[in-house]
Symmetry: D2
Subunit: 336 residues, 4 copies
Amino acid sequence: MSLVTFRQDKTMDFVAVGRLCIDLNANEIHRPMEETMTFTKYVGGSPANICIGMSRLGLQCGFIGKVSDDQMGRFIVQYLDKEGIDTGNVVIDSTGAVTGLAFTEIKSPSDCSILMYRDNVADLKLTAHEVQEELIAKTKIVLISGTALAQSPSREAVIQAVHYAKKHGAVVAFDLDYRPYSWASAEETAIYYNLAAEKSDIIIGTREEFNAMEMFENNPDHSDKVTASKWFDYSARIVIIKHGKEGSIAYGKDGSSNRAKSFPSKVLKTFGAGDSYASAFLYGLLQGWTVEKSMEFGSASASIVISRHSCSDAMPTAAEVAEYIEQCNQNEIKAN
Amino acid sequence: MSLVTFRQDKTMDFVAVGRLCIDLNANEIHRPMEETMTFTKYVGGSPANICIGMSRLGLQCGFIGKVSDDQMGRFIVQYLDKEGIDTGNVVIDSTGAVTGLAFTEIKSPSDCSILMYRDNVADLKLTAHEVQEELIAKTKIVLISGTALAQSPSREAVIQAVHYAKKHGAVVAFDLDYRPYSWASAEETAIYYNLAAEKSDIIIGTREEFNAMEMFENNPDHSDKVTASKWFDYSARIVIIKHGKEGSIAYGKDGSSNRAKSFPSKVLKTFGAGDSYASAFLYGLLQGWTVEKSMEFGSASASIVISRHSCSDAMPTAAEVAEYIEQCNQNEIKAN
Amino acid sequence: MSLVTFRQDKTMDFVAVGRLCIDLNANEIHRPMEETMTFTKYVGGSPANICIGMSRLGLQCGFIGKVSDDQMGRFIVQYLDKEGIDTGNVVIDSTGAVTGLAFTEIKSPSDCSILMYRDNVADLKLTAHEVQEELIAKTKIVLISGTALAQSPSREAVIQAVHYAKKHGAVVAFDLDYRPYSWASAEETAIYYNLAAEKSDIIIGTREEFNAMEMFENNPDHSDKVTASKWFDYSARIVIIKHGKEGSIAYGKDGSSNRAKSFPSKVLKTFGAGDSYASAFLYGLLQGWTVEKSMEFGSASASIVISRHSCSDAMPTAAEVAEYIEQCNQNEIKAN
Amino acid sequence: MSLVTFRQDKTMDFVAVGRLCIDLNANEIHRPMEETMTFTKYVGGSPANICIGMSRLGLQCGFIGKVSDDQMGRFIVQYLDKEGIDTGNVVIDSTGAVTGLAFTEIKSPSDCSILMYRDNVADLKLTAHEVQEELIAKTKIVLISGTALAQSPSREAVIQAVHYAKKHGAVVAFDLDYRPYSWASAEETAIYYNLAAEKSDIIIGTREEFNAMEMFENNPDHSDKVTASKWFDYSARIVIIKHGKEGSIAYGKDGSSNRAKSFPSKVLKTFGAGDSYASAFLYGLLQGWTVEKSMEFGSASASIVISRHSCSDAMPTAAEVAEYIEQCNQNEIKAN
C-alpha cells in the first residue's frame, strides 16, 4: 500500500499557495552583478516554480496567491494562464503593494547569489478570506510554502488553506522554503513552521531548514532520523531532508528510508534545483510510483533545470525527464 | 549685474543632495511592459542625473547621498567615480535598505510610464549627521531635490544641508521633483516644500509641482507670476516654472521674465528632459551667461537626452550641446 | 469518571499566562467618568484576576507574563508576591513598554464601561523564549487568555506555552477573553482562537466570543450545541458558553450539559463576574467536584465579586464562597 | 521702547498650540508610587497649564489642539470651557487615539518624578489643516510648545501655526518643553527646534533644553550669551534661559540682560514651576511691564504653584500673585 493516497474523486491535481514573484536573471554571467548590464524577466517564487513544473508535467494545476496591480503582476497572471494553470484564486492587490523581485548573480556554476526585493510585496498580503474553499475542496494536493507563513495576513491565509485541505481530504505538502529576511525572528519561524508541519502529510526541506524548526527541540546532532520521527506522531507520511550535493533522504511513516539517486548536469546555476525536484517527486507520487522512483524522477528534473537560464520557464515535460534519465543511463550526459 | 552670483573662492562647482537609484529601461520598446522581456540597468534619480550632467559638462561635482550595501549600491558608486564625481559623502547604508528602482515602460515616444520600487530605500535613510559641512563649505551650488524631503531622516539631512549652504554662502538650487508616492500627505508636501523654498536662491519646478506647494496659498488661477513673486520676498533670485511642451518661463527677482526656446528632437522617450535641462541651465549660470542663453543651453541638452535610451548615461558634453544648437540653427535636426 | 483528570504528581495547581495590568476604578461612582475626580489602583487583567482568585481559594499558583520596568510593573509583582503567587516567570520588559490601564466608569450597577490604554503594553511583549518549560512541566492546569493571542510576540508565547502544556500533560484551560481593540482583524481573531481551541481541554467564553471564533464556520443560529460539539472532535472535555444574565451552560465530551445556578447579589458593578466564576469553577474541578457543583461555586463567587469595588482584590476565599452559598440558601442575601 | 510690541488691534490676547493631557497626581505622597493607592485627575500639559494660567490672570485666551473622543478628552474640553478659554479650535480625534497621561510620584518636595503614557496620543495627531488661520489672525501672542514638534502631523501643524502667526503679525513665543521620549532622535530634535526658533520672538527654555538645540553648533562652554546671541540674528527679541534653583536670565535683542528674583515657597512638589512662570511673565509683557518686573511676577506665580497639589488648577489670579509678592516683601512667607 502507498504511503500517501490521493482522493481520486478530485478533479484538480495540485494547488500551490504562496509566493508569486519575478526573477531578473543576469544575461552577462560569470561576473559580479555590478558588471551585469541587462537582465531577463521570468516568473519566480518557489511555489510558482513548482506549480509551473507540475503543469508542464501534464497535471491539472491551480494557484492561490496575490499579485500587484501593475505590469509585473499582470505579466505573472498572463504567464500562468498561458501555462494552463487555473488563476481564478490569484487575487489582485489593491493596497499599492509591489511584486517581489529576485536579481540573480551568477559568478560561476557554483557561486550564485540573489538580491531580493521583499518590502511591501503583494504575495504576503493574501488574506484568509480570499482563499477559496471550493478550489481546495476539489484538489488532491495542496502545497504550502514556508515563506508565506512569514507575515500576516499571508500567514493566516496559509493556516486557513491548510484547514480547508484537512477538512476536504486533500494531501498537504509543506515545502519549508525558509528565507530568513522575511521573518521577524527565528523564534517566530520555529513556532509557525511547527504549527504547519503538525498538519502536513509530506514535509520537504533542507537540513538547515529543519534545524531552524527545531529551535525548541532537543536534537543536538541534527539527526535526520530524529527530525523525521517527530512528525510521524502528527500527520506526516513522508519527510524529505535535503543535503545539497550529498543528496536527499526520504523517511516514511512505515519506517522506510530512501536516498535519491543523482544525475550529471551541465550546470549553469544552482537555482531551481529544489523546485524542480519537488514538482517531479510529487508528480511521481500522484502516478502511484514508489518513493524511490519518484525521487529519481525528481533528481533528473533538477539536473535539467540547473543547466538552463531560468527556474520557471526551464521546467521540463515528463517526456523530457524520461528522456534525460535514459540519456544518463546511456552515459550520454556529462557534467561540466 | 547677474541675478545670481557665485563665490569664486570655492573649489567645488556643484553638489547634489538626495536620491541615487537604478533605472531599468525596457530594451524591447513600443509595447506594454508586460511584454518587455529584458531591461538595461542605469544610474538614475533626478539629482544623480543632474550631477552626472554637470560633470559631463566639465564641472567639479560631488554628491551627498546614501546607497545600499549590495551590488546595486556598489554599481552606483563605481559609476559616479568613473564620471569623476566626488563620492566622499556617499554613505553606505547599514540597515538592510535597498536601492530604489524605476522600471521604464516606453509604449511610444509620448506614452511613457515608470514602475517604481521605493519601499525601504537607502536614499531616504541619509541622516543630518552624515552630511559633511566641509564639503558644502567649499561648494558654489548646492542642489536639493524635493523627493529627499519626503521622509525622515533624509528630510532632516536636506534641511541640514541647506543650513550649511546658507552658512557658507553657497547658492541653493531647489528642484521640486515631486513624487506623490513617497509622501504621507499632500499637506506635508506643501509644508516642507515651503520651508525649503524659503531658503532657496533658485527654484525649478513644473506648474503642477508649484500647485502642490500652494495648498495653503491663495492663487486660484495658478498664475506663474503670483507663484514666483512670493519667493522673491524670501531668498529667491530665479524661479523657473515648466509647462511641458509649452516651454518654461524664468522669473527674476529683478522683475525680468524669459521664455525658453525649444529645439527639435528625434524623441525616443520623455524621461530625463527636466534633469538635462536643469544641469545645462545651471552650467550656463556658472559660466556667467544670461538667463536667456542658459535656458537655451538647457533646452538643447534636453532635446539630446530625450533622443537617447537612458537619462544619466545620455548626458551630453558642452561641445555636444553647442554642436546640437548649431545643427538646429542650420535646420539639420528634424523632429520625429 | 471525571470529564477532566488532573495529574496528581504535579506540585503547582495552576498557572495563568497573559495579561497583567492596572485597573483604575472610579471612587466617585454613579456618574460619567468626566465627573470622577479620583481613582483607586488595583491589579487587573482577566488571567491576573483568575490567578489571584485561585490563590485566595488556597491553591498553589504561578503566573507567566511580562510587566513594565516602572512603578506600575513593580506594584503588580509586589501584589502577586504578597498573594503568594509564584512570580518567577513574570518577566520585566526592557523596551520601554508601559502597563496596560483600565479606567472604569460606573454610572449604575448595570451601566459600566471601561476606558482602556493598550498601546505599547508590556504584557503583549512576552516572547516564546521567556516561557519557562520547567514551570509548566510541574503544573496541573495552564490557563491561557485570548487577549494574549492578539499580537506578536505574546501570540507565539501562548502557542509555546500550550505546546509545553500538552507535552507535559497539563490540562489546558482557554478563557476566550476577546477584546476587539487589541486585534488587527476579526479574521485573525478567528484563526488564532481556533488554533488555540483545538488544543484546549476546557474552553470558556461568552456566546459573542464563540461567535467571533466561528467566522469561517457554518452555525447560522449560533447554536451552543453546534459550537461545543466541534471542539469535542479535537481535545476538549468541557465547553462553557456564557449568556450573561441568562446564565451559563457547560457541555461535556460525555454528552452531558449543565446550567449554572445563579445567586442574588447587591451589585456594585458588573466587572469581574467572569473571572471570579472561572477561578471558582476550576477550583471545583481540581477538588474533584462535579461540573454542576463547580458551576454553583463559580456563580456564588461571581455574586460576591460584583458586590465589591475591585475585581482582583475582591476575590473571596473558599470559606467566604461556601458561607455565601449558605446565606443565599437561607435567603439572607437580597439583590439590589 | 519695548523689546516686544503687541498688536493692539487684536482681540484675543493669547493662544497656545499643542499638548492637552491629564495629570494623575498621587494623593498619598512622600512615598514611592508603588505605594500610592489613589490619584486625583487634573488637566495637564505644558501649553495647557500656561493657557489656564493666562486665563486666570484675566486674559482672553484660546487653545489649538486635539483631544481623544472619550471621557478624558471631554473632561479636558469641559475644564477649558469652564475656565473661559476659547475651545473652538480644540479638535476631537477620530482615529481612536487616547489622551496622554502623567502619573506623578512625589517622594519629597525635591524628589518628584513622572510616569508618562504617550503612545498613540491625540495631541500629536493635530494636522496643519485643522489649525484655524482666522483664530491666529486675531491673536496677540501665539505660544508653541516643543513637544508638539516631536511627531507628524502635529509637527507640521505647529509649523503652519507659526506661518500664520508671522503672516498676521502675532508675537511667537516658543517654550522649548523638551521631552526626549517623544522624539525619534536627538538630531531631529535639534533640527526642528532650530527651525521653530528661527521664527520666534520670545524663546524660553532650560539650559539643558538649549543644549539639545545646539547639537550642530559650536558652544562648548554652554554659554548663555552665545546661545541667546544666535537667535537675535533671526527673529528673536527675548531669550530666557532657566537654570533651575539658580534662577533664570533673560537676554534682550537690545543687549540687555536680567536675572529673575526668586521668592520663598512652602514647596509641595516641583512640577508646574516653569508653566506658571511663563504665563505670568508673558502676562507682564502684555501689560507693558519691563522684562525685570515681568520676571518678578513670573517667579512669584511659580512659588505659588509649587506649594499646591496640581499644575493647572493651582494657577493663581493676578491679585493672588500681587498679594504673594507683597507678603514676601513683608517676610510673611517662609520656605519649608
